[in-house]
C-alpha cells in the first residue's frame, strides 16, 4: 500500500552531518537526490557540543574539504573561535579546533542543501526499506508515502530507535526534543541486518545570566588563526574569538554525584548498550577515577546570539534537580540556571562488518550506511562517511568502480577500514594513534592527498583545482630552491646564524640542511637575514616546505612502510572464495573471513581473530591457486600451439 510520491537516483534517510554530506555529494555528482529528515529544523543539528575538529577529527574535516565536502566551509563561516592544538608537537598531530555557532551552522548548511541543484530536502520519517531480490528500490514513510530509488543511504544517527533517559524518567525520543525513528529498525532486521544498542550522554546547557566569569579561567582561541578548515576559506576575513571558560568540579560536586548516583540511569544500568569510552558521563568518571579530586569543566558558547552555554565535561543523566545542585557547586556557577538538562540517549546502530569498504551493505545491493548508525561517534566521523557513501552511490549509478580510500591515503580510509574490517564494540571515535602513517596524513596536506581525486569525481571546481596545483608547485619549487641554495661560513652568514641563536657553520651547507636544525625555521631565517626569498610566499606553502624538509627522514620511513603495506593490499582475494575448503584455518578465522570477505590479504590480516598462522595458510592457498591457474594457462597455450 502507499502512494508513490517520487522517483530519485539516491535517497538519503536523515539530514544530520552524514546525511548532509551524502546528499550534497550525490547531487553534485549528478544524482537526482532526495534528503528526508524527521524535521527541517534538525538539518545539520549539533546535538551535543558546539565545536568541530581537534586531533584526528580536524584531520577528517580537512579531508572532507579536500574532497569537496561542505563541513569545513560551514565551520569556517560560522566559527566563534579557532585554535590550533598541539603546536608544541609534531606536524602529524597538530590539529585545528573551532567553536561553532550552532544555529548559524545549521542555517547555513540547510541553505546549501536547499539551493543545491538536483537535491530535494523534505520532511518525512522513513519506517520501511523497500527491497526486491536483494536490491534496494525505495523507502516508505510513516504516512505511507513511497519514494523510489536504486540507491538509499541510511544516516539515522541517534534517531534510530532513540530513547531518552533522565533520572528516573525515560521515553522514546530523538535528541533535543525531536521525534525518534521508530519502525525502521524492524525493517532493517527483516533485511537481515544485525543491530545493537549504543548510548551517549550530553551535558546540561545553562543560561549566560548570573555566571560569574571572573571566577573562571578564560580560554580564548588564536588571535590570528594561522589556518582554517577549508582550502577556500577567506583568509582576509577577521576571525572571531569568543572565549570559553574553564572551571572545575571539586569535593562538593563529587559528593553530590556520589549521593545521588543511584538515581542516574547510567549507574542503575537502566541504560542499554555501550557508551563512548572517550567522553564518559561524569557519573562514570567519579566511579572509575575515585582518586581524582577534580575534573575540568568548560563552558562553551552555543552561538553568537544564543544565550546558552554548553557545559563540556559534565555529561550526565542525573535527575534535573540534582544537575542543578551539581552545577551550582562549581566555582562561578553558584547562581546559574539550567535551560536544558543533560540526558542520556540510547539508539540502534548496525554492526559495520556488514558493509563493504564502499559503505554499501553486503546483504542488500544499493543500500549504504553512514555515520552514527555504523557504530561511530562524532560529527566529523559521520560527515566523512556520509561523503564517501554519497560519492559511491553516485559512482554506482555511473557504473564506475567504487571509491575506496586506503589507510595510507586518508584518515577517512583508516576510519572505514577499521569499521568494515575490525568492527567495533563501542562508539568508534577517530584518534591520530589509529593512523599508522600519520606523518603523511597531516591535516595540512589533506588537499595534496585528496583534491586530485575530488576533481576527478567532479566535486572540486576547475578554479580551485588550479589554485591547488599552484600551491603544490610552489611547495616543490621552494623545497628544491632550499636544497640547492648553499651558504658558506662567510662572516655575514655567521652573524645571521648567531642572530638566529643557532651554532656556527664549519663547512658550506644548503639552506635545507640548516632548516633541519630544531631551532631554525623559515621565519627565523628570514628575520635573521639569512634567506629573505620566502617573504612573499603563502604561509600554508611555507609550513609545508618546513614539514617536508624538517621531517624528511621520517617521511621517507613512512613511505617505505606504506610500500610494504601496499604489497599486502595488492595480494587480492577473489570476491567469491570458499574459505570452508581450506583445511587448517582455525574455525574462528574461517567465520570471520566469511563474514568480512576481505578484498586483500592485507585486510584479512587486520581482522581480529585471524592470526598470522591463518594468514600464512591463506597465502599459500592463494599462491597455489595462482600457480595452478598459470600452469593450466600454459597447458592451454601449448594445446593451441
Amino acid at each position: 500500500m502507499g502512494f508513490e510520491a517520487g522517483r530519485y537516483d539516491t535517497i538519503v534517510i536523515g539530514a544530520g552531518h552524514a546525511g548532509c554530506e551524502a546528499a550534497l555529494a550525490a547531487a553534485r555528482m549528478g544524482c537526482r537526490t532526495l534528503a528526508l529528515t524527521v524535521n527541517l529544523e534538525a538539518v545539520a543539528l549539533m546535538a551535543c557540543n558546539p565545536s568541530l575538529g581537534g586531533p584526528a577529527k580536524g584531520h577528517l574535516v580537512k579531508e572532507i574539504d579536500a574532497l569537496g565536502g561542505e563541513m569545513g566551509l560551514a565551520a569556517d563561516e560560522t566559527m566563534l573561535q579557532m585554535r590550533l592544538l598541539n603546536t608544541a608537537r609534531g606536524p602529524a598531530v597538530q590539529a585545528l579546533r573551532a567553536q561553532v555557532d550552532k544555529r548559524r551552522y545549521q542555517e547555513r548548511m540547510r541553505l546549501v542543501l536547499e539551493r543545491q541543484d538536483g537535491l530535494d530536502l523534505r520532511e518525512g520519517l522513513v519506517k520501511e526499506l523497500l527491497v526486491e531480490n536483494g536490491r534496494i528500490c525505495g523507502v516508505k514513510t510513516e504516512t505511507d508515502l513511497l519514494f523510489m530509488a536504486p540507491a538509499v543511504i541510511v544516516t539515522t544517527g541517534t534517531f534510530l530507535g532513540g530513547r531518552i533517559l533522565l533520572g528516573e524518567f525515560s521515553y522514546p525520543g530523538g535528541p533535543q526534543g525531536l521525534r525518534p525513528a521508530e519502525g525502521l529498525t524492524r525493517s532493517l532486521k527483516q533485511c537481515g541486518f544485525r543491530s545493537r544498542r549504543f548510548n551517549t550522554t550530553t551535558p546540561p546547557r545553562i543560561a549566560n545570566r548570573n555566571i560569574k566569569f571572573d571566577k573562571m579561567e578564560r580560554q580564548a582561541g588564536d588571535d590570528r588563526p594561522q589556518q582554517q578548515f577549508s582550502f577556500l576559506a577567506d583568509s582576509a576575513k577577521k576571525a572571531k574569538n569568543y572565549p570559553c571558560w574553564l572551571t572545575h568540579t571539586g569535593p562538593k560536586a563529587h559528593q553530590v554525584i556520589a549521593q545521588h548516583i543511584s538515581r542516574s540511569p547510567v549507574w542503575r544500568e537502566k541504560l542499554q548498550g555501550t557508551g563512548p569510552r572517550y567522553c564518559p558521563s561524569i557519573e562514570d568518571k567519579i566511579v572509575r577515577f575515585p582518586q581524582r579530586l577534580s575534573h575540568q569543566v568548560f563552558l562553551e558558547p552555543e552561538g553568537e546570539e544564543l544565550t546558552e552555554y554548553y557545559v563540556q565535561g559534565l555529561y550526565t543523566a542525573l535527575p534535573e534537580e540534582v544537575q542543578q545542585v551539581l552545577l551550582r557547586s562549581l566555582e562561578g556557577l553558584e547562581e546559574c540556571r539550567i535551560t536544558r538538562p543533560g540526558y542520556a540517549i540510547e539508539y540502534d546502530c548496525i554492526d559495520p562488518l556488514q558493509l563493504f569498504p564502499a559503505l554499501e551493505s553486503k546483504g542488500v545491493a544499493g543500500l549504504y550506511f553512514a555515520g552514527q548508525v555504523n557504530s561511530t561517534s562524532g560529527y566529523e566521523e559521520a560527515a566523512a562517511q556520509g561523503l564517501l557513501a554519497g560519492i559511491n552511490a553516485a559512482l554506482k549509478k555511473r557504473g564506475e568502480d567504487p571509491l575506496v580510500l586506503d589507510r595510507s591515503q586518508a584518515y577517512i580510509g583508516v576510519l572505514v577500514d577499521d569499521l568494515v574490517t575490525k568492527g567495533t564494540d563501542e562508539p568508534y571515535r577517530m584518534h591520530t594513534s589509529r593512523a599508522e602513517y600519520r606523518l603523511l596524513l597531516r591535516q595540512e596536506n589533506a588537499d595534496e592527498r585528496l583534491t586530485e581525486l575530488g576533481y576527478r569525481l567532479g566535486l572540486i571546481g576547475r578554479e580551485r583545482y588550479e589554485r591547488f596545483c599552484k600551491k603544490w608547485d610552489a611547495v616543490r619549487a621552494e623545497v628544491e630552491r632550499l636544497q640547492n641554495t648553499r651558504v658558506t661560513p662567510a662572516p655575514e652568514v655567521l652573524q645571521a646564524l648567531e642572530r638566529m641563536g643557532t651554532p656556527a657553520l664549519k663547512s658550506p651547507a644548503s639552506l635545507a640542511q640548516l632548516l633541519k636544525r630544531p631551532e631554525v625555521n623559515l621565519e627565523r631565517m628570514r628575520e635573521g637575514g639569512l634567506d629573505r626569498e620566502t617573504a612573499d610566499l603563502d604561509p600554508a606553502v611555507l609550513r609545508e616546505v618546513e614539514n617536508r624538509i624538517k621531517y624528511e627522514g621520517y617521511i621517507n620511513k613512512q613511505r617505505e612502510q606504506i610500500e610494504r603495506y601496499r604489497k599486502m593490499e595488492e595480494q587480492r582475494i577473489p570476491e567469491v572464495f570458499d574459505y570452508g575448503a581450506i583445511g587448517g584455518l582455525a574455525a574462528e578465522a574461517r567465520d570471520k573471513l566469511e563474514q568480512v570477505r576481505p578484498r586483500s590479504l592485507g585486510q584479512a590480516a587486520r581482522i581480529s581473530g585471524v592470526t598470522p598462522a591463518d594468514i600464512s595458510i591463506l597465502m599459500l592457498h592463494l599462491e597455489e591457486r595462482r600457480r595452478r591457474k598459470r600452469s593450466a594457462a600454459r597447458r592451454d597455450d601449448a594445446r593451441e600451439a
Binding site: 581537534g54 586531533p55 584526528a56 592544538l85 598541539n86 608544541a88 608537537r89 609534531g90 602529524a92 598531530v93 590539529a95 579546533r97 575540568q296 568548560f298 584518534h431 591520530t432 594513534s433 599508522e436 600519520r438 606523518l439 630544531p518 621531517y551 621520517y554 620511513k557 613512512q558 612502510q561 610494504r564 603495506y565 604489497k567 599486502m568 595480494q571 583445511g583 587448517g584 584455518l585 582455525a586 590479504l601 590480516a605 592470526t611 598470522p612 598462522a613 591463518d614 594468514i615 600464512s616 595458510i617 597465502m619 599459500l620 599462491e623 597455489e624 600457480r627 600452469s631
Partner: protein, 470 residues
Amino acid sequence: MERDVICAISTPPGEGGIGIVRLSGDEAYRIAREVFRLPAEKRAGVFWKDFHPQPRRLYYGYILSDRGEQVDEVLFVHMPAPQTYTREDVVEIHAHGGTVPLQEIYRLLLQRGARIAEPGEFTRRAFLNGRIDLVQAESVLSVVRAKTDRGLRAALSQLQGHLSVRVRELRQGILHLLGETEAGAEFFYEEAGQEEGTRKGVATRVGELLQQCEYLAGRRAQGKILQEGLKTVILGKPNVGKSSLYNYLLQEERAIVTEIPGTTRDLLMEYINLRGIPLRIVDTAGLRREGDRVEKKGMEFSRKAIQEADLMLLLLDGSEELSEEDFWIYRQLETAEGQLLFVIINKIDRARKLTTEEVERSFSAQRVLECSILSGEGLPALEEAILESAQLGEVSAGESDIILEARQGELMQNAAESLRDALHALEAGFPLDVVSIDLHQAYGFLGELIGETVGDDLLDHIFSRFCIGK
C-alpha cells in the same frame, strides 16, 4: 588438499635400540595396517582386515614381508586426526634399531602407497594445517638439525616459547612507551609542559629496551654456532702435532654421529662435542707442502676451509725455531672479520727454542697458547680458549640458551636499529609523536619475529623454507 601419505624413518641412522617409522596422511592407517599383524593373526596366518586396533594404544605385533616372512617385531600405534603432530592421521611403527629391518619396513610401506617425506615435511604439514606457527616450525627444524645437546636444548626451549616470552615482554615495554608518546596528542585539555620530563623518561626506557634487543640480536651468532658447529681448522707444518691435536680433541666420547656418515670422511672433517659446543674440525691435507707435490684439488679445498672457518688453530713446534714453512702457512691465512686465529706452541715438554714473545712479534693472532699434546700440559687452557671463542665459555644453561634463527636475528637487529633511531630522534629534539614512528617500527619487527604480525616478506619466507609443489 595434500593428504597423500608421507613416510620417513624418524630416528637417526646408525645402530640404536629402537627405530621409528612414521606415516602421516589420510590413508596412513590403511597402509600401515596392511603390513602389520597382531600375534594372533600371525599364529593363524590370517589378516583380520576389519579388526582395528584402538587409537592411541600401543599394540605389540609383527611386520610381515610380501611373502609372509617376519621382518621385525614391532610396537604399532595409530593416532587419528586431528590431535596429532601434523593434524592428520599418523601411524608410528617402533621397530628394532639398525638399518636393515628399518629400511625393509620403510620399503614395504612405500610399496603400499606411501611416499618418501621431503626433509621437514611433517613439520610443514603441521604448519599448513594450523597446528604450529611459523616460529615453532622454525624451531622444530632447529631441533631436527641440532648437533649437540646444548643446541637441542636451546631449540627446545624456543619451541616452548622462551624466546617468545622475552620478545613479548619487549613488545609490552614498547607498547607502554607508545601510550606515553601518543596519548598526549589526544587530550589537548590536559596541561602541557610536562613534555621535557616525559622525554627523559622515554629516552631512559628506550635505552633499556635497546640493550635487551642488542643482547638478543647477539644470540644469533651463537645460535648459528650451536646449530652448525664452530668451524675449526687445524694448520701447521708436518710433524708439528696436528694429528695429535686432532685425535686429542676427537676423544671417543666426544665424537658425534652425523646423519650421513660418508660425508665427513670425504670432506675430511669431523664433528665433536666439546663440553656442549659442537666443533667442526677440518683437516687440511692440502696445505701440506710435502715436496713439490701440491694437489690442486686438496689445495682448493683447504683454501675454502680457511675462508669459511670461524677459528684457525696454527700449530708451531716449540722445540724448533720458526721456519720458512711456518711463515708460508701463515701467509696463506687472510683472516676476515669475525675469524679467529690461535697460534699454539706445541712440544713445550722439550727444550724450548721458541718463546711466546717471539711468536707474538712474528704473527698477529688473537691468542698465543702453549701446550704439550704429549704430556697434556696446557690442553685444558686451550679448550677454555676455544670455548671462549664461541663466546659461550661463561654462558650457563637456562634462559641464555635462547638462540635466534637467521630470520629472527635479522628482525631483532632491525628492532634494535629502530630503537637506536628513536634515541637519536629524542636527542635531536624531534617531537614525541614523531619518535613514536620508530617505536612502532620496532614493535612491528618484534611482532613479525614471534609471528604475531604478518610481515610483507612472509610469503617469500614460507616459500623458501618449505618447498611447495610447482
